[in-house]
């Protein structure tokens, strides 16, 4: 097993908002610039603290070669939430967006993990943005 660095940006906002006082808008940007061909990347997004829960709203993802040319290979992304266990996957070319309606809940103490399969024979860059609402329980 080996590891590859990736960059992340997390933004949480409580104001201005249409949300209730106990809720916080949350977004998570993940970029990995060097996913090897025919490999799967595992990225641990977040573990929800006790006393909170996350309402997952949507995921957007794209894959490119060198950051400029959209990857035309058929990639696959898995969204995994630990026990009691949610496992969703999508195949996509170039870019995709997925919304959860109603929201997919992640309870306190549970984790959100992404897996991405690079089905291209070239190294690809993946960008994923995850949107949700975090709230106190």
């Amino acid at each position: 097993m080996r590891q590859t660095p990736s960059s992340i940006r997390i933004i949480a906002s409580s104001l201005p908002s249409l949300l209730e006082p106990y809720q916080t808008e949350w977004s998570y940007l993940w970029e990995n610039n060097a996913i090897p061909p025919f490999s799967v990347i595992q990225h641990n997004v977040i573990t929800i603290e006790a006393g909170y829960r996350m309402r997952l709203k949507g995921v957007m993802c794209s894959a490119s070669i060198g950051g400029t040319i959209p990857s035309d290979a058929l990639h696959r992304i898995w969204i995994v939430i630990t026990t009691p266990g949610f496992l969703g996957d999508r195949f996509f070319r170039r870019t995709d967006a997925l919304t959860f309606d109603p929201s997919q809940e992640i309870k306190g103490g549970h984790s959100l993990i992404l897996y991405f399969y690079n089905a291209s024979s070239e190294e690809v860059r993946v960008t994923t943005n995850i949107l949700g609402v975090k709230e106190k329980t």
Binding site: S6, I10, S14, P36, V40, I41, V80
Partner: protein
């Protein structure tokens, strides 16, 4: 996680955090095994 910078803007109620993580590179077979363990509550004994 190596966090590069953290901003806390109390007026706007915004928390912004940037950093780096190490992602794990797996074969498709290893990944499938890990995912199944995660959603079933851990490795099978």
């Amino acid at each position: 996680m190596n966090v590069k910078s953290i901003y806390r803007l109390s007026e706007g109620g915004i928390l912004k955090e940037e950093g780096e993580k190490e992602d794990v590179v797996l074969t498709p077979e290893e990944a499938e095994k890990r995912m199944r363990e995660l959603v079933s509550g851990g490795p099978k004994k």
